[in-house]
Symmetry: C2
């Protein structure tokens, strides 16, 4: 899934160039390139499909030149994850009705590829032989209020999979602490494994209108008519997430407690936590031409080659991209969404 | 005089593009263009000569296209104001030995052109008919520690001119306050009026070595050999200011107390004082695409069209030019000279 717009990383991410297409940690590879490489470790390259917005298909081709046209699924409008997954699963079902699929965001960080591949392979085995929908749950290391949580109960499937009891969107800090202490909660990573048969069954039951839209295309997927069909189909869909539409309602959802160095890289704070810092907590990427005087716990992210001199800044973010400079306290970065809205209103769509 | 390098305005001023060639207040004209226009109000254009460094003659021609080649005097190396003035005065003396000249920096601000022209015309009359060296003194409005001060006594020449008693370089704040209270002190604007006869006499007496160097060229000024002669002459000169070399020593120095909205624009603080600010003290030039949240008393100076978002900054300067960004407290701007030295050492000469 590569259709998001990631405005929290503005101005590094832009409407025309969102987070998944950026090398946000300065590793030399963009997030979608890292995600693609990770999946080549567990599935044949020709079985990897990218669902993205129409306007990003050029970026996908540019960054993943190995893909052929048929592997890029273009959405005409943003309709959240449920239509995206319905489209992908119906299309794959038409190729192989017995397929099992892995659904994953393209803009997350996973440090331990081995651990990830192991969890995926376990999940594929279980999904292939059981009537279940599997989600990967990350063992939480702190009461993070930016993540969704999955509560599991004591019902076990195939040794490692726990029956899911409830989903909770971003909790407040007290609730998050309670979750961690209980030992019954995992972070929702938004990575799913299931057979196309089972997910189509779930769509029929929980999101019948969306199911009807995509079922109608059964004979056009993987033909010349697919793109035209999809253009119309998306406009008939409501905007709804797979979590809200299916996962929270289905009674055959299981979670695999996992640990593979995962982060959704949802905020600059999460990036700051992950990158190298000097002894006063300053982190700089990717420019090497930064001098700081009397400054600490700052993150500087500016284009390569740019010279930056900071003095007297503590706990600030200094981010520049595309002729746009953002200087704000690290604690205020949730405000970026508001900033983007203000910039759009005052200067126009082309600046966001 | 247009040979300075103005590193206090780095990174807006650069070694290759110093302050006099910049429109530092966003008026639409660079400082040297403003200075040139001011002088066209009181002397014929063909009588205006620019002394600058060799490497800036291109900038002078570009910004003052009306000048012909002979009006641009190129210094091969920086040797402060005394050699610069000796060169200019010897050259003009060869054209007209009875000339009176006005010497002025090209990078100062003067708001009241009428008042300036009036002071110049008064000074020219007195300089033409008396054995004196005239300097313009600015009536001080505050105990500024960034300026030099001129003390005068009660000896009067031509009604308006006071005999100079002493010069004092940048005083400390207590001394500056005493100066202001005494009523005997004026700011040294570095603007001089005298006959070439009188200044050459003063060079003979107080800076005989520099005088010898430039006297030797009497027959080559305004000929094809001038440039070659000057190339050699400058290397024989010591680095010395006209204030230190002559004004502080001569006993025929008079000052005209003046008021014409003068500033030497020596620091960002002086620019900040002069430009429009919003009701929380934020000043922005020349970009119009700046949004500030919870910020006050900041000055933003970035290239036109650049989008800047500031949050939580108080009393800061945010300056960008030529792919170089400086963020520092307004109170720390004296530090810019050190910053420039550090940048040169760490990244190289091409960055300053």
């Amino acid at each position: 899934m590569a259709g998001g717009i990631g405005s929290r990383f503005w101005p590094v991410s832009r409407l025309s160039h969102p987070k998944q297409f950026i090398d946000i940690l300065g590793t030399g590879k963009t997030l979608i390139q890292q995600t693609y490489e990770r999946f080549t470790r567990t599935v044949p390259k020709e079985n990897i499909f990218i669902v993205t917005n129409d306007i990003y298909t050029g970026l996908v081709k540019e960054q993943l030149p190995e893909l052929n046209e048929a592997q890029i699924l273009a959405e005409p409008i943003m309709r959240n994850t449920a239509p995206c997954i319905a489209y992908g699963c119906y299309k794959i079902s038409q190729i192989n009705p017995n397929a099992c699929v892995i659904i994953a965001p393209s803009d997350h960080l996973i440090l331990d590829t081995e651990g990830f591949v192991h969890a995926i392979n376990l999940s594929l085995q279980t999904a292939a032989s059981n009537d279940c929908l599997i989600t990967l749950g990350i063992k939480p290391s702190r009461p993070d209020t930016g993540y969704g949580y999955i509560q599991f109960n004591s019902v076990i499937l195939d040794k490692d999979f726990h029956k899911v009891k409830s989903f909770t969107e971003k909790p407040n800090i007290d609730l998050a602490k309670t979750f961690i202490q209980s030992g019954e909660f995992l972070w929702n990573a938004g990575i799913f494994v299931w057979s196309v048969k089972n997910i189509i069954k779930a769509f029929k039951q929980h999101l019948p209108e969306i199911n009807d839209v995509f079922k109608e295309g059964e004979n056009v997927y993987n033909t010349a008519g697919e793109q035209e069909f999809i253009q119309k189909a998306y406009y008939q869909c409501t905007n709804i997430s797979i979590d809200y539409g299916i996962m929270e309602k289905a009674d055959n959802v299981y979670v695999l407690p996992s640990e593979f160095g995962w982060s959704d890289l949802g905020t600059w704070a999460s990036v700051y936590d992950l990158i190298d810092k000097d002894y006063v907590g300053n982190a700089v990427l990717p420019s090497e031409r930064v001098i700081m005087y009397d400054s600490s716990n700052c993150m500087v992210n500016v284009p390569k080659g740019k010279v930056v001199i900071l003095q007297g800044l503590h706990d600030f973010i200094v981010v520049e991209n595309n002729n746009t400079l953002l200087i704000c306290p690290r604690s205020e970065e949730q405000n970026v969404k508001q900033v983007v809205a203000d910039v759009k209103q005052r200067f126009g769509q082309e600046f966001i």
